[in-house]
């Protein structure tokens, strides 16, 4: 039963980490994209 419990904890933990990583990555990339697009718009003006 200990093995089942450990595997369940690892399973949920890895999915939680994947969620957290995806959220952080989306936030970081969205901010970076906004910055780059802002720079491009400034240059065009």
């Amino acid at each position: 039963m200990l093995e089942v419990f450990l595997v369940s904890v690892l399973y949920w933990l890895s999915l939680l980490l994947l969620f957290a990583w995806l959220n952080r990555r989306v936030q970081h990339l969205t901010a970076r994209l906004a910055m780059l697009e802002g720079d491009s718009a400034d240059k065009e003006e």
Binding site: M1, E3, V4, V7, S8, Y11, W12, S14, L15, L18, L22, R25, V26, L29, T30, R32, L33, L36, E37, D39, S40, K43
Partner: protein
């Protein structure tokens, strides 16, 4: 839409875990350890689904040459590898409890490992090629060839002599209605979770490409 999918996945996973670890009774021969089935079987089914989506996306990419299909193929393959790894680990724990060893080269174990290694080859191949167009085309062709391992793994129970229990036909493990209900909910919630992850990872992939393109244009412009 994606936010709703996330809430559905979280609620589904909590309910599925409750049914799997509290509601469902212990099994007659395997006792409490059979509960690993509630992670193992949904992961295996989602793994097959992910590689099927990956293969179909590669076929669509080769026909239409639209980059979104190549992205979907790659992201789906990564998720297939993740769920495949869970399947292999939980299967080994089951094997140790049922057969006394973590790995005994049973046809089901072996064909699933071959499947996993074949798709590890796919993502490695894609990472190793520099040219984007070449990477997409070569990767798609390899992906279609690697897909042969999916039916090989799935039908290994029927085609080869194996010790692996057949849950669907009921041989090897007897599932009562509460167990079947718990299993069904676990399969559904794992599929919803996969759908959410597929969408979120595709978004990350697209954003990375847009940032790369803008950075390149910025460097080119001085």
């Amino acid at each position: 839409m994606r936010q709703n999918l996330l809430y559905a996945a979280i609620c589904g996973c909590i309910a599925a875990s409750y049914l799997a670890f509290v509601f469902a009774p212990p099994e007659a021969t395997m006792g409490e350890l059979y509960r690993i089935l509630y992670i193992h079987l949904p992961s295996a089914l989602v793994c097959y689904l992910a590689f099927t989506i990956s293969m179909v996306s590669s076929v669509l990419f080769l026909r239409r040459r639209e980059r979104r299909y190549d992205t979907l193929a790659e992201v789906s393959a990564w998720l297939g590898l993740l769920f495949g790894a869970v399947t292999l680990v939980t299967g080994s724990i089951w094997a140790n409890a049922a057969w006394g060893t973590y790995w005994n080269w049973d046809p089901r174990e072996t064909t699933t490992l071959v499947l996993w290694v074949a798709y590890l080859g796919y993502v490695t191949l894609k990472m190793s090629l520099e040219n984007e167009e070449r990477r997409a085309v070569v990767g798609s062709v390899y992906n279609i060839l690697a897909f042969v391992t999916v039916p090989l793994s799935y039908f290994s129970l029927q085609l080869l002599p194996t010790l692996h229990p057949q849950v669907v036909s009921g041989s090897g493990i007897g599932l009562t209605p509460p167990m079947t209900l718990a299993l069904a909910l676990n399969v559904v919630s794992a599929t919803v979770l996969f759908a959410y992850l597929l969408g979120a990872m595709s978004t990350v992939h697209d954003l990375e490409k847009r940032v790369e393109t803008l950075q390149y244009l910025r460097q080119e412009g001085g």
